[in-house]
Amino acid sequence: MSDPDARRDGLAASPGGRQDAVPSDVDLGRVWLGVAAQVWRRQPSWLERAAGRLLRSPGLARALVTTPSLLIGWITATLVVLVAGILATLGTGTPFVALLAPAVAAAGIAYAYGPGIDPAWELSGSMAVSDRMVLLVRALAVFGLNAALGLAASAASGAAAAVTFGWLVPMTAVCALALAAATLARSANVGVAAGLAGWAITVLAAQAANGRFTAAVTDSALVVPYLAFAAGCGAIVAYATRIPRGTS
């Protein structure tokens, strides 16, 4: 609670302590604010500028570059999950990792940014840029980074490649699809729906690529697991993006 005029007085004082060195028609308070704006301004990185243009929102771009996916804790957690996934795949020879990992990752995002976890959740809920859009951007950043790390690991290990191409890359694509849909439709709900549909298509496409498409869609034993998985994803997304009716 201060007046920039106080700064103006500081600026107006000449080295000799005289106050009359500045013409009276110069608003030094305004001058100081201009100086402060330039000195304090944070130059956006090329990544943030590009994201701002792509997303048509500087706010979303800032959310993207400040996401914890770019922090050391998340990178460490990503590596741990990746290694655990590789070991589980090698040890069991089953595709549990491909089925469970997206849900685990999505839950992680939900709990990392949800109410009670994100310190500024309440404030974010009153912003013009929807917090659901911010969540989608962050999810894309997390999966994008994970996919990049997985691709790097794939060069050294076939199991890493299986995990990476089995779910990391598809999930990145799904998040990108959701974000693109949300950006175009200006609705995070549309994006979430597109993402879920994209994931379902991805799973079925993978089955088709393995020559098991017919079994995947006709085997009645798989219906319940599919429904359970879809319900789980839906619940996670609903929790992660939940905002009371009528507020977003």
Binding site: M1, R7, A37, R62, D118, P119, G125, S126, T247
Partner: protein, 254 residues
């Protein structure tokens, strides 16, 4: 009128936090008084579009916040300081204010100047590049005020804004409130009666989710006349008198 509320209610499970509030106000500083649990914060959260009403009619800045497009437009013109300001400890003061300026959809070119103005207005110019984790509670409160006013809001909602401020800062803050109230509707929720007396042109008093008084600070003071209401200052005695009358009426009804 920037805020038009009609028979607004909000329930959390079986608890009715806000019970049929009707209110309309234009530019100026509006004080919202009441004891803890009176429903002030719930009402403010509805006005901030953070939670929707359970029932009733709400129009903000001439728009319906229940519809996506108008709600986004309202949020662009809104400033909100929650009771518990969450913050990212690793952000600097400027980064925090700038982040929320961008999320308010301010044009990117206007943001640096607006951030500098807001940070200076709350007297944090010398802490502009300090990490939030290094600031005192009072300074963090001022950071919260800076993010709330950075977009020059037409509707400014402040929940316990003077909590943690020292007396000198509170005096300066009241002056800032009066200045902001010349052009915007400023709603200040507080249980500090002296804040209302010093800065507000209108005051409402809530108790048990209901609005039990709406008028000027002078009218609230006058309610104490002829009563033995407790309080150290005239406005406090008016506050106590209105609360006591409201509670005896409620008790008589039940």
């Amino acid at each position: 009128m920037n805020v038009e509320i009609s028979d607004l209610t909000r329930r959390f499970g079986r608890t009715q936090a806000v019970a049929g509030v009707t209110l309309a106000t234009g530019p100026g500083v509006f004080g919202l008084l009441g004891p803890n649990g009176a429903g002030k914060t719930s009402l403010l959260r509805m006005l901030a579009t953070v939670i929707p009403p359970s029932s009733g009619r709400l129009r903000l800045l001439g728009r319906d916040p229940g519809v996506y497009g108008p709600r986004r437009e309202i949020r662009r013109r809104l400033g909100y300081l929650p009771q518990n300001l969450g913050y990212y400890p690793g952000f600097t003061v400027v980064e925090f204010v700038e982040y929320f300026a961008l999320l308010k959809d301010m044009p990117a070119g206007r943001v640096p100047g607006a951030v500098a103005t807001a940070v200076e207005r709350v007297g944090l110019g010398d802490k502009a590049r300090a990490k939030l984790r290094t600031l005192s509670g009072g300074m963090l409160r001022r950071v919260g005020i800076a993010q709330a006013i950075v977009n020059q809001p037409e509707l400014l909602l402040l929940d316990e804004p003077t909590a943690g401020l020292d007396p000198e800062q509170r005096v300066a803050f009241r002056a800032l409130l009066r200045e902001l109230g010349q052009h915007a509707t400023v709603i200040v929720s507080t249980h500090l009666v002296e804040d209302v007396g010093a800065a507000c042109s209108q005051v409402a008093l809530m108790d048990q989710g209901m609005l039990v008084f709406h008028g000027t600070p002078g009218e609230l003071t006058a309610r104490a006349e002829g009563t033995a209401a407790a309080g150290d200052a005239p406005l406090e005695r008016g506050y106590s008198a209105v609360l006591a009358a409201a509670r005896s009426t409620a008790a008589a009804r039940s």
